[in-house]
Amino acid sequence: MHTEIADAELVRRAKSGDLDAFEELIGRHERRVYSLARRILRHEHDAEDVTQQTLLSVVEHLPEFREEASFSTWLMRIATHAALKVLRKRKGLPTVSLEQATEPTDDAETVPHPEFIADWRENPVALVERAETRRLLDEALNELDEKHRPVFLLRDVEGLSVKETAEALDLSETNVKVRLLRARLQLRERLTRAFGDETKRLQPHAHEE
């Protein structure tokens, strides 16, 4: 029998001062907060800071949470903003390498052509179970640069709309779309090199231009 108490009920109890209910609620969602922060920031210590800051702010602002969105949506929004704040603060620091500084900043960048094209040997349901898959997913994600990684995480992992992603990152919707396409293609390339069936590899069609 399914006896788990719904988040909304735990929120109600926590609002009326029940600390156990609050801890149960946090226990359900803390991993997602921490994972998102770690993936955005690529830094364990910063991810811990962001997680703690987010959850402490939930303690303080829970009475104001109006329950128009789900608790999880509300929480992830706070976590996203906290993580992005750290990212922006980092960008303010003079740590840009010459290579980065001379990189074209224009978003009208060309889209990379798929090179390794092959059906995957296994479906995602089977792959997701494996520990080495997680490692590979994180590696591939870490190879995306900071222009592309948060866009992919917010849009495709957290499920924000293009508009919400644009607002959260202070980008135009066009920029979000361009960056998302590049991120998806780069991740596809990387994962297909790992999961693709070499014996069924296809050559891309020659481009006529």
Binding site: I26, Y34, V111, R134, V157
Partner: protein, 80 residues
């Protein structure tokens, strides 16, 4: 439609956010282009895999420290 043009529309197609007239052209190209079919399928699987991967656990020491801090803040904010 050429492969390049298809690539540019890929997001809209995968997200189901494509103009119906363009969608028809897109699918016409797909039905005759095996590499593009596989790329679309790869992209869908890539997104699914990231979406479905379980979040990582908090390091134990951090988990304890975090909950101590939460209880402390809770008590501060819930003083009668």
């Amino acid at each position: 439609m050429k492969c390049d043009q298809l690539l540019a529309m890929l997001n809209d197609y995968v997200d189901g956010d494509i103009d119906p007239a363009i969608c028809e052209e897109f699918e016409k190209h797909l039905s005759g282009c095996n590499p593009c079919q596989v790329v679309v399928d790869n992209i869908r699987k890539t997104i699914t895999l990231y979406k479905d991967s379980q979040p990582v656990a908090l390091p134990l020491e951090f988990h304890e420290r975090l909950h101590r801090a939460l209880r402390r803040r809770w008590k501060e904010t819930h003083k009668a």
